[in-house]
Each structure stands twice: as structure tokens, then as C-alpha cells.
């Protein structure tokens, strides 16, 4: 991905529908060549943001720049962006080729060039030879490719995708996901995708913005979002997480300790907490970063190489097991305290039989695994 030249900037953009604030003072820059993803629960304002970019909604306050030019007053048909709609919105009365050519016809591109570009676009989305079909003779996945080709044939500066994979079944979705990613690399156009599906966003995007209630929560790369969430909302929204509310009792440059009333033993961290303050903090531990070990009655807790004795280990009992094929998810009740989720990969064909319901276990995690959240 080249350079950090912003192609799109949102400057203090707010959108209100009556009294409802759909987008609340968003500042965001999207760079040339990025595959950017807007992620959030439904109603968080991500689609509104996209529609403002396409020109179907206008910001109540603030402005939107494309290539440094304010486009707030430019109608949708004059903007250098094209969109792939959630329902694809392929014109049913036109053939596939006519659909793809539509944008060029409207722009009065000469017929010869038009035919060539349509042919190229068909090839790009692997629909060569289907140009004369009507949309109702196509499958859902093929219709989506038509929508993609129709938008890409205009060579937009930015391609907008509104929940592009939500209407496809699971297998096809995986396939289209791979293809979308390959397509973006091939054409080199900036893609902006709106989705509520975190897997989709993590797998495809080079950078994600998480939104909630109109506010931008965090903008980061997929792995930073997952491993270094900035707030409880992000930690909880991306993947699943065990959150422990507690207090920072020790905070040195090379280690820190959180004591939580929800856990019998302290959480030891192998790093200091920057920007820490007194009061409540939260420790977030992902289920796959927690390990289970068999425990016999009255045995001493195992010693961990990266934490002092007694920290980062608790005694528990398995209450639920869900076998998901590639992994198993356990609900483990910490003796006298709450339940936590633990995910365990089934590395061999017998791994799912290691732990049974009601079995006593030691629950441990590494000192680098918990993420400390201040809000």
C-alpha cells in the first residue's frame, strides 16, 4: 500500500436525522490504495457515512473532501466514487453487458471503447461470455460480480461497498472474500467497505474503523484492533473476550498488577500501563489466550515462567463444552466466582476428549495476554 496521501477526509462530519444523531463529529482520513473497512453494529452510522460519501445523504455539519476538494455540494452522479449496493441493484431489464455499460453510456463514452471496457470488466470479475444474459438468469454471486464490474468499469477513485457479502451463503462468501481482496490488489483502487461482520473486516481490510452510536471508537489495523483494543466496546465487539473489572494496584515500567473482585488471584502483566489513572480499569483476555491444565484435588497451582507464584492462575471447573470441529469452547466456572470462556484448538483428532464436563482444571494465561482498558 503506497504512501500516506489522504484521498478522502471527513472533517468534523455530523449527520442528524431529526433529533437522532447518526454520525457524531467524525474525523477520518482514508489513504490512497487502502482497503478500508467501517465496522460496527447495525444503526451505528457506518452506512450513513458511506452514503454521505456517495452523495445520497448530505452532512448536517462538517465537510467531506475527496482529493482535497470539498464535495458536499456535488450531486452523486458527478462524484468520482462508485458504489456496490447491498442488494446489488442490478437493473433487471438490461442484459449483463448493458448493466456494466450503463455508466459509460451515460458518460457518452464512444461505442468501440465502451465495448472494450465492458469486455475487460467482464473478464476482471470472471463473467466472460455471460454478457448477453439477463440478471435473473444469474446466481446471487454472479449478480454481485455484475454490480462490482458495473462500478469498476467507470474507473472510480474510490469504490464503496455496502455490506457486499451479507446476502451470500457461507461458502460463497468465503470465496468472494478472497476474490475481493485479489481484485483490490489488481485494480489498485481505494476500497471502502461497510460491514457488521467482523471476520469480513479483519480478513479483508488493511485498516478498520469501529463505530458505535455515531462515534468513531478506534481506527487501526485489524490485528491492532483485535490485540490492542482501545475500549471495552471494541474489545467486546471484535471477537469474544473475558472482561475483568478491577484496580491497578502496581504500575511499574516493567510490570503491573490488576486485582479484580471477579477473580481470586491477581492479574500480572509483564509491561507497565501507559496513561493509567487511579480508579477502575478493565483487563481483557481473549478466550484462545487462556490455557487449561488438569487439576487434582488439593494439588498446588502450577508455576508459571512469566508470572510470580499465585498470579495468572485460578482453579476452575468445566461447566459446558461446545465442540466446533476445529476448536472447542469451554465455559469454566472459577471456584466461587464467575464463568469465563476458554477456546482450545483441537490440534489432534483426540484433543476434544481431553476435558470433560465437570472436570477440575487450572486456568492460566501468559503475562503478555491481557489487554488493559481504561474505558
Amino acid at each position: 500500500m503506497n504512501g500516506a496521501r489522504p484521498i478522502i477526509s471527513f472533517e468534523n462530519v455530523t449527520k442528524r436525522f431529526g433529533r437522532m444523531v447518526a454520525v457524531d463529529n467524525v474525523n477520518l482520513a482514508i489513504n490512497e490504495g487502502e482497503f478500508f473497512s467501517l465496522l460496527g453494529p447495525s444503526g451505528c452510522g457506518k452506512t450513513t457515512l458511506l452514503r454521505m460519501l456517495a452523495g445520497f445523504d448530505t452532512p448536517t455539519e462538517g465537510r467531506i473532501l475527496i482529493d482535497g476538494k470539498d464535495i458536499s455540494a456535488v450531486p452523486p452522479n458527478k462524484r468520482p466514487v462508485n458504489m456496490v449496493f447491498q442488494s446489488y441493484a442490478v437493473f433487471p431489464h438490461m442484459t449483463v453487458a448493458d448493466n456494466i455499460a450503463y455508466g459509460l453510456t451515460v458518460d457518452r463514452v464512444p461505442a468501440a471503447e465502451r465495448a472494450q471496457r465492458v469486455e475487460e470488466a467482464l473478464e476482471l470479475v470472471q463473467l466472460t461470455g455471460l454478457g448477453s444474459r439477463k440478471p435473473d438468469q444469474l446466481s446471487g454471486g454472479q449478480r454481485q460480480r455484475v454490480a462490482l464490474a458495473r462500478a469498476l468499469v467507470k474507473r472510480p477513485r474510490v469504490l464503496l461497498l455496502d455490506e457486499p457479502l451479507s446476502a451470500l451463503d457461507a461458502k460463497l462468501r468465503d470465496q468472494m472474500r478472497t476474490e475481493l481482496s485479489a481484485l483490490q490488489e489488481k485494480v489498485g483502487i481505494t476500497f471502502i467497505m461497510v460491514t457488521h461482520d467482523q471476520d469480513e473486516a479483519l480478513a479483508l481490510a488493511t485498516r478498520c474503523a469501529v463505530m458505535n452510536r455515531g462515534l468513531l471508537q478506534q481506527v487501526a489495523s485489524p490485528s491492532d484492533l483485535y490485540e490492542f483494543p482501545s475500549s471495552r466496546f471494541v474489545a467486546d465487539f471484535i471477537g469474544s473476550v473475558n472482561l475483568f473489572e478491577g484496580e491497578l494496584t502496581t504500575d511499574e515500567p516493567d510490570h503491573a498488577v490488576i486485582t479484580s473482585p471477579e477473580l481470586p488471584s491477581p492479574i500480572y502483566l509483564d509491561h507497565g500501563v501507559t496513561g493509567a489513572r487511579h480508579g477502575t480499569v478493565w483487563a481483557a483476555i481473549r478466550p484462545e489466550k487462556i490455557e487449561l491444565k488438569k487439576r487434582s484435588e488439593g494439588s498446588a497451582p502450577p508455576n508459571l515462567s512469566d508470572a510470580p507464584a499465585g498470579a495468572n492462575v485460578v482453579a476452575g471447573t468445566i461447566r459446558q463444552e461446545a465442540y466446533l470441529g476445529s476448536e472447542s469452547v469451554f465455559d469454566v466456572e472459577i471456584e466461587g466466582f464467575r464463568c469465563i470462556k476458554v477456546l482450545r484448538s483441537n490440534l489432534t483428532r483426540w484433543d476434544q476428549e481431553d476435558f470433560a464436563q465437570g472436570e477440575a482444571v487450572w486456568v492460566t494465561w501468559h503475562a503478555c495476554s491481557p489487554a488493559v482498558l481504561l474505558s
Binding site: 450531486p75 452523486p76 452522479n77 462508485n82 458504489m83 441493484a89 437493473f91 431489464h93 451515460v106
Partner: protein, 163 residues
């Protein structure tokens, strides 16, 4: 409604005299449009309700102006209902006697009014001939319509918009 129209036209007369068709035909047209309009509107509205707004936005997004969007995307979508509405309006208009009778002047008469005035005295051969032609035309149109309905190619144009 015929009486209301009669009073209305009597009230707003005199009309400009140099119209391209006889004055009374103008009155009949206005009357017929106003009573057919609701029927057509209901049919077209019903069809328009199934229109996916994203389709309109897609056209705009691809560079079409508002008028271009209407002619390229919206009109093709509602075309079947426009045809149905036209046929309905034609039938209503052809069938109507009362409103026409009240609004028509001495110079212009429509088919049913003419037939009515002819059969008041006796059924002439002209009336028989006219009836035969009307029945034939109806039968032919019905046959054509049935044929078109049976032909899948003629109905595929709007089968795909359930997505």
C-alpha cells in the same frame, strides 16, 4: 360526477374558441381523465411500491441525472403497470355513458352515446355492424393477451427484481 362536470364546464365557459379539436371533445377528455386517473394511479402505485430505491441510487451513482434515472430505470420497472393502467383507462372511457352524456355537446359524441341515440328508435344495421366490430376487436385483443402471457420471454423482463 357527470352533473358536477356539466356545471363546472358551463361555469368556466366561454372557452377559447381556436382549439385544435372541437371544444366539446376537450371537455370530454378532461372528464374522462379525471375519472380514470384514480384507477391508473392505484395500479401504478402498487407497482412502484415494489421498486428498490437502491436501483435509483445505483443509476445516480453511475452518472445518470434525475431525468435519465426516471427514463432508464423507473419507467422500465413500472412499464407493465403503465400498460395495464392504459388498458384500464381505455376500457373505462369506452364504456362510460353517463359522464360523457352530460359533458358532450351537440357536435361531439362518443361511441356509446352515439349508439344510444341510434337505438332509441330502432336497431339499425349500422348498430349491428358496430357491435360486431367491437366484439371482434375484443376477442382478438384477448387472444393476443393470452398468447403473450403464455410466452415466458415476454414476462422475464421483471422477474428478477425480487432480489
Amino acid at each position: 360526477m357527470g352533473v358536477a362536470m356539466l356545471v363546472f364546464f358551463a361555469r368556466i365557459l366561454p372557452w377559447p374558441q381556436e382549439m385544435p379539436w372541437p371544444l366539446n371533445l376537450g371537455a370530454i377528455i378532461i372528464a374522462h381523465v379525471s375519472f380514470s386517473f384514480p384507477f391508473v394511479a392505484v395500479v401504478v402505485r402498487a407497482r412502484l411500491a415494489s421498486f428498490n430505491r437502491e436501483m435509483e441510487e445505483a443509476a445516480r451513482d453511475l452518472g445518470a441525472g434525475e431525468w435519465r434515472t426516471i427514463s432508464d430505470v423507473i419507467v422500465p420497472h413500472i412499464a407493465p403497470s403503465l400498460v395495464a393502467g392504459a388498458l384500464l383507462a381505455f376500457t373505462l372511457s369506452l364504456d362510460d355513458f353517463v359522464i360523457t352524456f352530460f359533458t358532450a355537446g351537440p357536435d361531439t359524441v362518443t361511441f356509446p352515446v352515439k349508439v344510444y341515440s341510434m337505438v332509441r328508435f330502432s336497431v339499425t344495421p349500422e348498430v349491428n355492424a358496430a357491435s360486431t366490430v367491437l366484439i371482434l376487436v375484443t376477442v382478438i385483443f384477448t387472444a393476443v393477451a393470452l398468447r403473450l402471457q403464455g410466452d415466458p420471454a415476454a414476462t422475464t423482463g421483471h422477474a428478477g427484481d425480487k432480489a
